[in-house]
């Protein structure tokens, strides 16, 4: 069986309060990917739409969006795994192409988080975990990640300033990414300045500056089988490895509190399938919904040993010029996190890097890239390894 290649990528700008409907938002990422692939919609045999449905007013958005994008009568499917929906959709698309069911599939991820009111959004945030046993205690996403931060600090001696360094790095690149929602610099001083919003506590020990920026946005990845990819595309990027895992939704059901087991497991699968090791990765996108999440990702993916993530960021090895550049597009922290679009946006970033088309964000001549995309608080994990 042949390889599966990525022949087109696109994403909308990530913004606060997108001035259009979800179908119009989805069109932006899709249009860019179709133009990037230099194909027509009739060349796409099936579509997968990915979002987190609790933010949508439209029931079953797949059919509505597929029609708007000109993708009927081809089949369309809907995939959801919260923040990793579009990476999960890529795995399904890969399977469909590999099985020979379709020659090419478009994955369209989107989220219009401003579709619902702020109070509706607050209400949904309370239901982000196990609604029977944990939500009645008043849980929120930042508080769960704060528990991971607390446990990581207690075990390994990582400090709040180590986390702040991750945000400073994200903001460094958010400023040069024209698609990013947060384009301002962030300094270490802001985290200790009571006048700065960045220093305000959200859930101890995490501060506003440790949390990602909500945004509206869309992304699109178009994949094709080897024959079609070579015929249609000058620079296809190949999917070398693709791993996925799940974990107990309950914190009480988890053994590891200093890392995300789904990141470790999905990473192992992807490395094995691709036949590479962490040392072979030239550029990576990891799921930095919170600063602690990026630090754990360094360790869970083998870029650093357990507990040594703080040294990796401390020595700036994850900056553009470092040994393992991570999130050189601003990451979720500064580029923004429109839930269903995030995985596709991460994949787009790595595809552009491997093609040498990342502009000011370009790292030096990467051959192999990795995408790490987490859904929920380590509930779902997806790791994808791409190569030229």
């Amino acid at each position: 069986m042949g390889k599966v290649g990525i022949i087109g990528v696109g994403q909308s700008r990530f913004v606060r309060g997108y001035p259009g409907s979800i179908r119009e938002l989805a069109f932006e990422g899709f249009k860019e990917a179709v133009q990037d692939a230099k194909i027509e919609t009739k060349d796409i045999d099936a579509s997968i739409i990915a979002s987190a449905p609790e933010y949508d007013k439209q029931r079953s958005p797949a059919g509505v969006i597929a029609e708007y994008l000109g993708l009927i009568p081809q089949p369309t499917f809907y995939i959801e795994s919260v923040c990793s929906s579009s990476s999960a959709a890529l795995k399904v698309a890969y399977s469909m192409v590999k099985a020979g069911l379709h020659d090419s599939v478009a994955i369209i991820g989107f989220q219009k988080m401003s579709e619902i009111s702020s109070s509706e959004s607050q209400e949904r945030m309370g239901r982000g975990a196990d609604i029977q046993w944990e939500s009645p205690f008043g849980t929120m996403m930042p508080a769960y990640y704060a528990m991971y931060a607390q446990a990581h600090m207690a075990k390994y001696g990582s400090r709040l300033e180590d986390l702040a360094k991750i945000r400073v790095k994200a903001a460094t690149y958010g400023q040069i990414n024209e698609k990013a929602v947060y384009r301002k610099p962030v300094t270490m001083e802001m985290f200790t300045d009571p006048e700065s919003n960045m220093s305000a506590t959200v859930a101890k020990p995490l501060r506003v500056g440790d949390c990602c920026a909500n945004a509206d946005g869309s992304s699109c990845i178009i994949v094709a089988n080897e024959e079609k990819a070579k015929a249609m595309c000058d620079k296809p990027v190949w999917i070398l490895g693709i791993g996925a895992a799940s974990e107990a939704v309950n914190m009480a059901g988890r053994d590891l509190l200093t890392g995300l087991s789904v990141g470790i497991e999905a990473g192992k699968q992807a490395y094995k399938m691709a036949g590479v090791t962490p040392k072979d990765i030239d550029v990576a996108e990891v799921h930095d919904c919170f600063t602690i999440a990026e630090m754990m990702a360094y360790e869970n993916l083998g870029f650093a040993k357990s507990g040594e993530g703080k040294d990796l960021i401390g020595s700036k090895e994850t900056y553009k010029e470092g040994s393992i550049p991570v999130n050189i597009d601003g990451g979720l922290l500064s580029k923004g996190h429109p839930i269903g679009a995030t995985g596709g946006s991460q994949i787009r970033t790595i595809v552009l890097q491997l093609r040498g088309e990342a502009g000011e964000m370009q790292v030096k001549d990467p051959e192999i890239g990795l995408v790490h995309n987490i859904g929920g608080v380590g509930l779902y994990g997806n790791v994808t390894i791409l190569g030229r």
């Binding site: 109070s119 607050q122 209400e123 945030m125 309370g126 239901r127 196990d130 609604i131 029977q132 046993w133 944990e134 939500s135 009645p136 205690f137 008043g138 849980t139 929120m140 930042p142 508080a143 769960y144 704060a146 528990m147 991971y148 607390q150 446990a151 207690a154 075990k155 305000a200 506590t201 959200v202 859930a203 101890k204 020990p205 995490l206 309950n250 914190m251 009480a252 059901g253 988890r254 509190l257």
Partner: protein
């Protein structure tokens, strides 16, 4: 003819309950009696907290209750400065996870322990708690 009664005891659980009907409703009756209970599979002896009606290890549904007793080790915790809708009056509050060895319990730290006194590894016990809105939950407190 009387209307069929619905067993919705679980709507009493927590500041805001999102579940009313579950086969584990007896958990609430035990809470009212001052007991925090987990479940144990009668067939394969697998232990579950939070409790469940069905065993994912042996695929049977013969559960019995056991009481959460003694102390557990504090694995982690976080104090929330912002809460979801319905939890505003509780703020600030601290969520936490205790390790009892063969199972773990997720809940809240009792209001009588200041955040500054908490540290990973300390021993705490679990006790039932009635919230200001008369709902029930359980909290972790000093042994």
């Amino acid at each position: 003819m009387t209307k069929k009664e619905v067993d919705d005891r679980f709507k009493k659980f927590g500041t805001v309950s999102f579940t009313a009907i579950t086969k584990t409703n007896d958990f609430i009756t035990y809470l009212e009696e001052g007991k925090v209970m987990g479940s144990k599979c009668k067939d394969c002896e697998a232990i579950f907290f939070p409790p469940r009606s069905d065993c994912s290890k042996c695929m049977q549904s013969n559960m019995e209750w056991f009481e959460v007793t003694g102390t557990g080790k504090l694995l982690s915790f976080s104090e929330l400065k912002y809460g979801p809708v319905g939890f505003e009056d509780d703020l600030p509050y601290t969520i936490a996870l205790l390790d009892y060895g063969s199972y773990k319990v997720f809940g809240r730290i009792a209001k009588d322990i200041p955040y500054e006194d908490l540290s990973v590894g300390m021993e705490l016990k679990t006790r039932c708690n009635t919230l200001p809105n008369n709902q029930l939950n359980y909290v972790f407190t000093r042994p």
